[in-house]
């Protein structure tokens, strides 16, 4: 994707958006947020669990782990900008009975350190929790920082549990759950001022469980992470067009809650739209499609996700519109498909 000129008449009317830097919040203007839900939740669990330690590779501040470091300085390991060492050392600490919560950016865990996670953590079934910021398209820095394929990579790894939480409410709930789970976990992380949405739905995170957040007769969104937030918003906006949309939130990408997904898709007459903040290759969309094929359930099926290309740099609102994962773009797609 090449840069688009910003001197055309259509953009001249709008303010020019600056590049979405690492500390940029993904919250929409006016949206309710909570600061650093991961860091605060981790402190709470760590108070009860002396086996929990924090580790990072020069990204403590950018993954909200600095909050843990401040509270428990002697349980915090700064490994320098060395992701292979980071995950190998996490395996060693886990072998000695500790439960490391390890943070970096999703690109560095899933791409640079893949073999270290595969061999020293997953293959040995070490109790390491990997929490990674900048999942999917949540940075404007271009492919170096955009982990469009992290779910596909981590899903393919035996023993690995993979979760993609939606908001601050879910992250807070997920941290103690994954701490209690025995085995390696990869969790996508939203950091900084994180939107707060799911508390309004009386939602409770359960590992391995998909949950329907709203019902609807015409469309069924199946979504995870940031895109659940967008699907909920899109469902509200589509009401104006007399389109009634349900939202099934699937925070656990692996193991996938096949039963709930298939049963929810059995309801006739609904257009199924899987929406994910991830490349269309190898993520939730293809996992759901395969599950439906195996169960011989064949609804009309569409997939909203990032294209199979190196994504552009720039401002997130621009990029989310361009690649079809903004609320407006989702609404437009659904209206076209209906």
């Amino acid at each position: 994707m090449k840069p688009v000129s910003n001197t055309t008449s259509s953009t001249a009317a709008k303010p020019r958006l600056t590049t979405s830097a690492m500390i940029a919040s993904i919250a929409a203007e006016g949206q309710r947020t909570k600061p650093a839900p991961f860091g605060h939740a981790l402190i709470e669990v760590a108070r009860q669990r002396p086996d929990i330690v924090g580790m990072t590779a020069d990204l403590g501040k950018y993954t909200d782990l600095h909050i843990f470091a401040k509270e428990f300085p002697d349980r915090y390991y700064q490994m320098g900008m060395a992701e292979q060492l980071l995950f190998g050392a996490a395996s060693g600490l886990a072998a000695e009975g500790f439960t490391p919560f390890v943070t970096t950016y999703a690109v560095f865990a899933s791409r640079r350190a893949y073999d270290f996670i595969h061999q020293t953590i997953a293959e040995e079934d070490r109790n390491v929790k990997i929490a990674c910021a900048l999942p999917g398209l949540t940075s404007g820095y271009g492919p170096s920082h955009q982990a469009a394929e992290d779910l596909a990579l981590l899903r393919a790894m035996p023993n690995m549990t993979v979760i993609d939480p939606c908001d601050a409410h879910e992250i807070e709930q997920a941290v103690p759950v994954i701490a209690a789970h025995q085995g390696p976990v990869y969790m996508r992380l939203l950091r900084g001022q994180v939107p707060l949405v799911l508390d309004e739905y009386g939602y409770k995170f359960e590992l391995g469980k998909a949950k329907q957040l709203r019902d609807g007769a015409d469309v069924l969104f199946i979504s995870s992470g940031l895109l659940t937030m967008r699907a909920l918003e899109a469902a509200k906006q589509l009401e104006a067009d007399r389109i009634s949309a349900a939202v099934l939130h699937v925070p656990t990408i692996k193991p996938l809650d096949v039963e709930t997904i298939v049963e929810t898709c059995r309801k006739p007459g609904r257009l199924v739209v899987v929406a994910e903040n991830h490349t269309v290759i190898g993520g939730l969309g293809e996992a759901v499609a395969a599950a439906l094929m195996r169960a011989r359930v064949h609804p009309a099926f569409h997939h909203i996700g990032l294209p199979d290309e190196f994504l552009a740099a720039g401002a997130l609102p621009t990029l989310h519109d361009r690649y079809g994962i903004s609320t407006e773009a989702i609404c437009a797609s659904v209206k076209k498909w209906r």
């Binding site: 320098g80 060395a82 292979q84 060492l85 395996s91 072998a95 000695e96 500790f98 061999q119 020293t120």
Partner: protein, 282 residues
């Protein structure tokens, strides 16, 4: 057996090293191939590690107070199995299963397969990073156990090794003893020609390590190096650079070129065992 001192003299370390070599050759014969030259070169180091330096209980390989041994170069598994058999951790009868389906002794070492195997190596360059984490964990627990890790000179090509070397010094890991097998052979040829790593001792000293370089096939020198590594008082990680000879102890294998993954003719296994016996008598 947990007290290292009781193991020093009887049988002698030379006898232990002989038996480790013999076990390795017998496993090599079972498969008709393998990393036998490496097993022969590192047998003296393993004899000193398992029968002079390390604390462990053969009947309880996961004993909390044991010293940990991380085999980073997973293809040396044949050597470590030979030592684990000699140490009584793996029954000698299992030697016949080496490398066959459903054996606990696969060609490349994995933690989940074999008692006494602490890590899954083979993807080279992993061990020292795991060792750093284990050393940090042992210190957190207030344990006086040590972490020994063995890796090959070829692994020095891997960048992760240097990440781990920096961090071990940064965290003052005086409970870490790394052993580098410099046999100057890797898959594509002589290690120093693949990627120059010398002067290794100088580099590691500059990195803040306590470094010794010894003839890894001189038992007295290896014992002295392990003793010095254990008793050194600096708050630094320790490295023993062991210069070794591929195929050591079996002259016709020592002389063989291209010995990284050695094919040995069927009739030669008997000759190999005879050569070991001859060396033992000498």
């Amino acid at each position: 057996m947990e007290d290292a001192a009781s193991r020093i003299n009887e049988p002698s370390l030379a006898e232990r090293a002989y038996r480790i070599r013999r076990n390795a050759v017998r496993m090599g014969e079972v498969q008709g191939q393998g990393y036998i030259a490496q097993a022969l070169d590192i047998a003296d180091v393993l004899a000193v590690a398992y029968f002079h330096a390390m604390r462990y209980r053969p009947e309880d390989p996961a004993w909390e107070k044991r010293d940990r041994f991380l085999l980073s170069n997973g293809h040396y598994a044949i050597a470590l199995y030979a030592a684990l058999i000699e140490a009584g951790i793996v029954p000698e009868a299992e030697l016949e299963t080496y490398g066959f389906d459903d054996s606990r002794l696969p060609m490349s070492g994995m933690a989940s397969y074999t008692p006494g195997m602490e890590m899954s190596g083979g993807s080279l360059g992993l061990g020292l990073s795991i060792a750093v984490g284990m050393c940090l964990g042992l210190k957190r627990k207030g344990s006086d156990s040590r972490v020994y890790t063995l890796f090959s000179d070829g692994e020095l090509d891997e960048g992760s090794k240097w990440e781990a070397m920096m961090s071990a010094a940064h965290y003052n890991l005086d409970n870490l003893i790394a052993i580098v097998d410099v046999n100057n052979q890797q898959a594509d040829g002589p290690s120093k020609q693949m990627m120059g790593f010398e002067p290794l001792a100088d580099k590691m000293r500059a990195f803040g390590w306590f470094v010794q370089r010894v003839d890894g096939n001189d038992l007295n020198a290896v014992v002295a190096a392990f003793d010095a590594a254990r008793t050194h008082e600096g708050a630094r990680p320790r490295m023993i650079i062991a210069d070794t000879l591929m195929g050591k102890g079996i002259p016709f294998l020592e002389a063989r070129e291209r010995n990284h993954f050695m094919r040995v003719d069927a009739h030669e296994w008997k000759l190999a065992l005879e050569a070991l016996d001859e060396g033992r008598r000498a």
